[in-house]
C-alpha cells in the first residue's frame, strides 16, 4: 500500500489547490503569529530559533507569496516547498504561543510535498521538459504514491485524535459547541449576558446532540475515508462538515485545505479519466 505506484496527476492537482490555501493563509498567520517578533515575553521551544525583527517578520510573510506561486505553478517546486517549510517553520517554532493546529498541519503537508513527485505533471517544470499537451499531462510516467498515502494517513490521524480529544464532560455536555455557535450568531463582541440569553433559548440537548454528533462524525470520517464503500458518504458528510466549520468558526483556509486533501482519496486514475471523458464529449459535440 505505502509503496504502490500510480499516476501523479491527482497529487499535482492537490499541489495547486494546496498552494491556493497557503496563499490565503499568509495574512492570517501574519496577524496571529506575532509572538515570533522580538520584544515582550516569549516562550521559545528552543533558544536556537531566533526571534524576528518586525521588518524581517513582514518580509518573511511577503516573500512567501512568491514561493507559493512557484509551488502552485510547479517550477523549482522542491526549492519553493523547502523554503516555505523553512520560513513557516521559523515563525511557527519561534514561540510556543504561535501554535495553531492548521499551520502545523500545513507544515506537515509541505514536508511531504517536498519529497513527493507532485510536479511531475500539471507543472511548468513538466512543460519546460517537453511534456506538453493534454495526453502528456494526463498520462505521465507512473510514480510512487507514498507521499499521497502519507497525506491520507495524516488526515485520518487528525480525525481520530480530534474525535478522541473531545471525549470529556465539557465538550459532551455541549458547552463548547454552544459557545462557538453563540460567537457565530452574536459576533465576538457580544456580551456574556447576550450569550447566556441566546444559549437559554435553545434546549441544552440541542448543543449536546451537536457535540455528540461532531465526535461521531469525526470518527466516521476517519473510518469512512479509508473504507471504499463508505467513502462517497464520507466525502459528502466531510464536505458539509468542513464548510460548516468554515462558516461558523471562520477557519476557511483550514477547511478548504482539508477538503483539498480529499482529492488524494480518489483513485489516481479518476481525475485523468474524468478529463479524458469530458474532452472526448467536447470533441464529439464539436464534430457533430
Amino acid at each position: 500500500m505505502w509503496f504502490a505506484e500510480g499516476n501523479p496527476l491527482t497529487l499535482a492537482v492537490f499541489r495547486a489547490a494546496f498552494a491556493l490555501c497557503l496563499a490565503a493563509e499568509v495574512p492570517s498567520t501574519r496577524h496571529m503569529s506575532v509572538f515570533a517578533i522580538e520584544g515582550g515575553f516569549h516562550l521559545p521551544y528552543l533558544r536556537l530559533v531566533p526571534l524576528l525583527e518586525p521588518k524581517l517578520y513582514a518580509q518573511v510573510h511577503l516573500s512567501q507569496y512568491f514561493l507559493i506561486l512557484l509551488l502552485g505553478l510547479g517550477v523549482a517546486t522542491r526549492a519553493a516547498a523547502g523554503s516555505l517549510l523553512f520560513l513557516q517553520g521559523w515563525v511557527f517554532y519561534a514561540d510556543r504561543m504561535n501554535f495553531r493546529n492548521h499551520p502545523y498541519f500545513f507544515l506537515l503537508v509541505l514536508a511531504i510535498l517536498l519529497v513527493s513527485p507532485c510536479d511531475d505533471t500539471l507543472s511548468l517544470r513538466a512543460w519546460l521538459r517537453g511534456r506538453r499537451g493534454l495526453q502528456a499531462m494526463l498520462r505521465p510516467p507512473h510514480r510512487p504514491l507514498t507521499a499521497q498515502r502519507l497525506i491520507q494517513f495524516q488526515v485520518v490521524v487528525v480525525y481520530v485524535y480530534a474525535a478522541s480529544m473531545k471525549i470529556h464532560p465539557q465538550f459532551l455536555g455541549g458547552g463548547i459547541v454552544a459557545l462557538e455557535a453563540n460567537r457565530w450568531l452574536l459576533g465576538a463582541a457580544a456580551t456574556d449576558d447576550a450569550r447566556v440569553a441566546l444559549s437559554s433559548t435553545f434546549d441544552p440537548t440541542v448543543w449536546m446532540a451537536l457535540s455528540w454528533g461532531t465526535i461521531v462524525l469525526e470518527g466516521f470520517l476517519a473510518v469512512g475515508l479509508c473504507w471504499a464503500r463508505a467513502r462517497p458518504l464520507a466525502f459528502a458528510l466531510g464536505i458539509l462538515f468542513h464548510l460548516g466549520l468554515g462558516l461558523v468558526m471562520g477557519v476557511w483556509t483550514f477547511s478548504l485545505g482539508y477538503l483539498a486533501t480529499y482529492l488524494l482519496f480518489l483513485d489516481p486514475e479518476t481525475i485523468p479519466c474524468a478529463i479524458e471523458r469530458a474532452s472526448r464529449r467536447r470533441r464529439a459535440v464539436e464534430a457533430a
Binding site: M1, A4, E5, M97, P141, L150, M165, Q170, A228, D267
Partner: protein, 174 residues
C-alpha cells in the same frame, strides 16, 4: 526503480470500489498496483513518520491541561480554559500598582498559553527582571486561578508572597 507509462482504458465504467474512491476503468485496485522497492532509509523514514504521528498525540489524552497546554495533538476546539486574576507591584511605602496580565501580550491567547504551571515561572521571571530594571525596590505579588474543560478552578500562584523571591517564582506545583 522502474517506471511505468501509459494509461488505462477510461471507457468502461467502474463496477467495483478499490482502496481509493472509484476505479473508473479497468485499472487494478491500488492494492494490486505495481509496487516499487524503496531503499531501506525510505522505509525507515515512512515508518518513523507514521509512528511519530500516531504516538505523539497520545500523551495529550492523559495530560493535565493546567500543567501545559496540549500541543501537536489535534486538540481542535475541544475544550475551553478560563483564567482570572492578576498581579500587583507593591512599593516599599505600601502603595501598589496593578498589572493586568491579559494586556501584557500582543494577543490575549498569549496569556492563556502562558497560564500553565510549566510556563508561569518563566513569565514571573520576565516580570521580575522588568521590575528589577525599573524599580528594584518593588515586590511582585499575584493570584492566578484557572480551570480547564469545566474542571475545578485551581490556584496556580501562591498568594501573598513576593513572587520574585519565592521558590519556583511562586508557582504552585501540582
Amino acid at each position: 526503480m522502474a517506471r511505468r507509462t501509459g494509461g488505462p482504458d477510461c471507457r468502461r465504467p467502474s463496477t467495483r470500489f478499490s482502496m481509493t474512491i472509484e476505479t473508473p476503468t479497468s485499472v487494478p485496485s491500488s492494492a494490486e498496483r505495481p509496487c516499487y522497492r524503496p531503499r531501506w532509509y525510505v522505509q525507515l523514514a515512512v515508518a518513523g513518520w507514521v509512528a511519530a504521528q500516531l504516538l505523539l498525540p497520545l500523551r495529550c489524552l492523559v495530560a493535565d491541561r493546567l500543567q501545559r497546554p496540549p500541543r501537536f495533538c489535534w486538540n481542535m476546539y475541544s475544550y475551553q480554559s478560563n483564567c482570572e486574576g492578576g498581579y500587583v507591584a507593591i512599593r516599599p511605602d505600601g502603595s501598589s500598582a496593578s498589572l493586568n496580565p491579559f494586556q501584557l501580550f500582543p494577543r490575549e491567547v498569549g496569556a492563556f498559553v502562558t497560564f500553565h504551571r510549566d510556563f508561569l515561572p518563566s513569565f514571573h521571571g520576565w516580570l521580575c527582571r522588568g521590575l528589577e530594571l525599573r524599580q528594584p525596590e518593588m515586590r511582585l505579588q499575584g493570584e492566578i486561578r484557572c480551570s480547564s474543560a469545566a474542571g475545578d478552578q485551581e490556584l496556580l500562584v501562591r498568594r501573598g508572597v513576593d513572587l520574585c523571591e519565592a521558590e519556583n517564582f511562586g508557582v504552585i506545583d501540582r
